[in-house]
């Protein structure tokens, strides 16, 4: 998929979604996971690797950390200042780590076993996934 592609058809082929509970919060669903039947190049959305693969992404829902924003100087089209403060809240960090672990569990699950090829992995990288 071209780097400069735009429009609806250039969106990543994310095929499967699920919602999950990390166990870290009281919310019934604080994680969203997406599954893409290709490996994303460097993890960048919309850029696919040449080799076959699959990618599971975990997304924290409604993080606790609040952003900070401020209006820009009164110049037309000057964007405001935004500080997203990702991972500032400890609870967010725990949820994010839980989501990443869950992604690994899914990749190592039995239903995915027929499609899971670890030949590219180093021994150390494979050890915790099998």
């Amino acid at each position: 998929m071209g780097h400069h592609a735009a429009g609806l058809l250039s969106l990543s082929p994310t095929m499967v979604y699920c919602f999950w509970h990390s166990g870290e919060t009281t919310e019934s669903s604080d994680l969203q996971l997406t599954f893409t039947p290709r490996e994303l190049q460097g993890g960048v959305q919309g850029q696919l690797e040449d080799q076959p693969g699959m990618t599971v992404a975990s997304w924290q829902q409604r993080p606790k950390a609040a952003a900070m924003s401020a209006p820009a100087p009164p110049i037309l089209f000057k964007p405001p200042i935004i500080q997203t403060n990702y991972l500032v809240a400890e609870l967010d960090r725990r949820v994010v780590v839980a989501g990443m672990k869950l992604a690994r569990r899914l990749l190592a699950s039995a239903p995915l076993a027929p499609y899971y090829d670890s030949r590219g992995f180093s021994r150390a990288q494979c050890a915790d996934r099998r």
Binding site: H4, A5, A6, S10, G23, E24, T25, T26, S29, E39, L40, G42, G43, V44, Q45, G46, Q47, E49, G53, M54, V56, A57, W59, Q60, R62, P63, K64, A65, A66, A67, M68, S69, A70, P71, A72, K78, P79, P80, I82, Q83, T84, N85, Y86, L87, V88, A89, L91, R93, R94, V96, V97, G99, M100, K101, R104, L107, D117, S118, F121, Q125
Partner: protein, 264 residues
Amino acid sequence: MQTDDEFLAAATQRGTTTFHPGCTCRMGPADSSWAVVDDQLRVHGLQNLRVVDASIMPRMISANLNASTLMIADKASDLIRRKEAAGGGGLSSSYGNSCPGRDAARSSSRSAARRTGTPALQRTASQELRAALRPGHEKSVGHRSRTCECIPIPVPQNSLSFLASCFDEGALSRGDPSADRAKAGRTGAPGTVDGLVAGGSAGRRCALPWARAVALPREVGSPTRLKGAIGALAPPTAPSPRAVREGLANLGRNAPRERERLAV
């Protein structure tokens, strides 16, 4: 990656977001300090300026914003045309006379009314729908509130994504986010984004006069405590100026391709 610290380090280095911003022009009472638009989506203090997008949501919803934003736009079209929703109820008039669900609901409701003798004409469309969906539960037909119940969350919140790939040197370890930022023209100065917001509604600027808020995490149960390097990333509730300058500030920056798509 084995330990929580390693996971978090990877997340800090490789995390990204696709930005689903919302709640930056929240709907609420005019006398509140955080609301931008009223329940007709008009900017408070102005007569003919409406905001119609995900920014008017009082708080972040529990799903992708797309479907809800479509419904907001559908409702807004009625408001702008000063057209009451069909039957005075909650079903949009945009479906005209050919809404299958509404027609089915009304037909079923009329049938029920004939059986029970209850005059269906006195009900709103939403009441008819509820009655049709729950026959025999007439008492459950409630009134339709037009009150906006807003929960004050002062700033937008976005999700942060982390990718786990199943092949050698997967997404978490191979990319170079600094290179991405360089290609995107980022200078590294924290917080100086975004074309995304620059394309937003005018109400945002009047609505966010140096808004800053930090939500304390809700501690529940006995979660696994992260340790070590986490403390060096940032304090638990608010970033230090140094952390803002050096660390987490670069998280969530748009990848070059996303930035191009979002730029207005």
